[in-house]
């Protein structure tokens, strides 16, 4: 039995401090992103989430240049980008993708410049890869309270806005008729999403952060249509995928020929998330088919 366990989980997995930190921060970030993501999927704002993550890379790069913790850069730029999108008009469904895209294009251009300056002045091309693809095992313990703080802000905002936001997400017209200030709620939500995406960008990288935002939530919404249950399911799926990804990355030290490096954790997390989404689709379809047969 213990032999099987050792094959599944490499010895030393739970005693290594980078791994413990990766599990703690990764789990925290994944649950916040999954909760926010349920609204993202219902509102059809996956592209906005993706764009905010990419623009966060600009922030990551400038934080790197300025020598402040990357998290501040990610959060600052994502929130600013959310404001810009809101201004150009992300509220109307028509032309919304375009507004997102234009902001994204400009942000990416600036990221290119900042990363270029960073690599030329410091001569470390590793920054590009770290910012874009993440480095979950390089997180340090001072990051933990910051992540916790930002995560709590997001969750509290969502808890306060829960009912109006859910109504405005499912039926904006009905919400407006009930006296909900749809635009204000939408803007507050966009900013919460920006913070959540920034957190996820620090963990699995700017351009992969969408995976944690959209994947678990979309899978959960395939399994249940009740909002509360979907949020809980999404959080569980998100945390489980992240932990499984970290575990696989740790195990993968033994998979390479020379035993000299692990496969990236980001790759495993993203793959697990996609697999869960596909399985959830297959599962919900077979349930529906079973129901229609018995009816």
């Amino acid at each position: 039995m213990s032999h099987v366990l050792h094959v599944l989980i490499e010895p030393g997995f739970f005693s290594s401090s980078p791994v413990r930190l990766a599990l703690a921060i990764g789990g925290l970030v994944a649950s916040v992103a999954a909760v926010v993501g349920v609204f993202t999927v219902i509102r059809g704002q996956a592209f906005a989430g993706e764009a905010l993550g990419d623009i966060g890379a600009t922030g990551g790069a400038s934080a790197y240049l300025a020598g402040v913790p990357a998290l501040f850069g990610f959060v600052g730029f994502s929130v600013a980008a959310a404001g810009a999108m809101e201004l150009i008009g992300i509220q109307r469904v028509r032309g919304r993708d375009l507004a997102t895209g234009i902001v994204l294009g400009a942000g990416f251009g600036i990221a290119a410049l900042l990363l270029y300056l960073g690599t030329t002045y410091d001569n470390t091309s590793g920054a590009t890869v770290t910012i874009l693809f993440g480095a979950i095992f390089d997180l340090t313990s001072p990051d933990l309270p910051l992540v916790l703080g930002f995560g709590l802000i997001v969750l509290v905002t969502l808890a306060v806005l829960y009912r109006p936001l859910m109504l405005a997400s499912i039926s904006p017209e009905l919400a407006a008729a009930r006296g909900v200030r749809v635009r204000l709620v939408g803007a507050a939500y966009l900013i919460s999403m920006a913070v959540a995406v920034a957190l996820s960008a620090v963990t699995i990288g700017a351009i992969l952060s969408t995976a944690l935002l959209v994947g678990p939530a979309a899978a959960a919404l395939r399994l249940t249509t009740r909002p509360g249950r979907a949020i809980a399911t999404a959080a569980v799926i998100g945390v489980a995928s992240t932990w499984l990804g970290v575990l696989l990355a740790y195990d993968s030290y033994d998979w390479t020929v020379k035993h000299d490096r692990a496969w990236p954790a980001s790759f495993f997390i993203v793959t697990v998330v996609l697999a869960v989404y596909l399985i959830a689709g297959w599962f919900s379809q077979s349930i529906r088919r079973g129901r229609s047969l018995s009816a």
Binding site: V41, D97, A106, F108, V129, A211, R222
Partner: protein, 262 residues
């Protein structure tokens, strides 16, 4: 600025601008900006993989962008379209991260793949690019009427299978991607696709005129970007991204002020 290796850059950049703007015209018409972002960005993994096994980067880009287009098309049939796009994209990028981790000497190349490098265009990239341009423009000419009809009035396009048309369109984006990557990089092709086309649409509603205007704006953007990049040594992608956004802003301000005046 116009000597030796730079000649290749100018030729390829001109082709890239024409194809990017032409395909981008439909991207904007159909409102599929997310797809236009996802396909090129995901194809980055293909280039990383190609360098790992030592084949031409354009081949890797081509294979991955087509695979990405098919993945988005098939996954998007059931379930939400934007979710399918996002998950296909992140999965391909995850693969890219994996390929990168296998390859230690890849740092600077990652950067030029993502954000473009004009100087990196060699003679043996010139012919594939020219060929792909012809294929893209030919396909676009053939699909012009059905695509335009289905983009403007989806309900009136009877007798056309929307799924097939969508797949054709996605493949077109994939083709355009494979050829544009070496110049502006995977991250910013998308900027070149939607910026000029969106700006052109703000100036005119007539499709032919808008298409011509989009190509004109794209050429101006790319040429300026290369000249600036050559002079300042800063990445091309930066200039392309900022100039596209500016073009769009000018278009928006123009149409807004006209609505005010009229």
């Amino acid at each position: 600025m116009f000597s030796g290796f730079m000649v290749n850059a100018w030729i390829v950049a001109t082709l890239v601008a024409i194809v990017g703007a032409a395909v981008g015209f439909f991207v904007v018409m159909r409102g599929s900006a997310f797809v236009a972002h996802a396909v090129p960005n995901g194809s980055f993994a293909g280039a990383a993989g190609a360098s790992l096994i030592g084949v031409n980067a354009i081949l890797g880009l081509g294979v991955f962008s087509v695979a990405g287009a098919l993945g988005i098309g098939l996954l998007g049939r059931r379930g939400r379209h934007d979710v399918a796009t996002a998950l296909t994209l992140v999965f391909m990028l995850g693969l890219g991260a994996l390929f990168l981790s296998f390859n230690t000497e890849y740092g600077p190349q990652v950067y030029s793949l993502l954000f473009g490098e004009v100087l990196g265009i060699s003679d043996n990239q010139l012919w594939p690019t020219l060929m792909l341009t012809c294929v893209c423009l030919g396909a676009l000419a053939m699909l012009w009427r059905p695509l335009l009809l289905a983009s403007v009035l989806p309900s009136s396009a009877q007798g056309l299978d929307p799924f097939k048309l969508e797949l054709c369109f996605l493949l077109l984006v994939a083709l355009a991607t494979a050829m544009t990557v070496p110049v502006v990089g995977t991250a910013l092709i998308f900027s070149l696709m939607i910026g000029p086309a969106a700006a052109a649409r703000a100036f005119t509603v007539r499709p032919h005129l808008a298409l011509a205007l989009a190509v004109g704006i794209a050429l101006a953007i790319v040429w300026t970007a290369i000249a600036c990049s050559y002079a300042s040594d800063w990445p091309v992608g930066f200039f392309v991204g900022v100039l596209s956004a500016s073009a769009y802003t000018v278009g928006r301000v123009w149409s807004w002020s006209r609505r005010r005046g009229g």
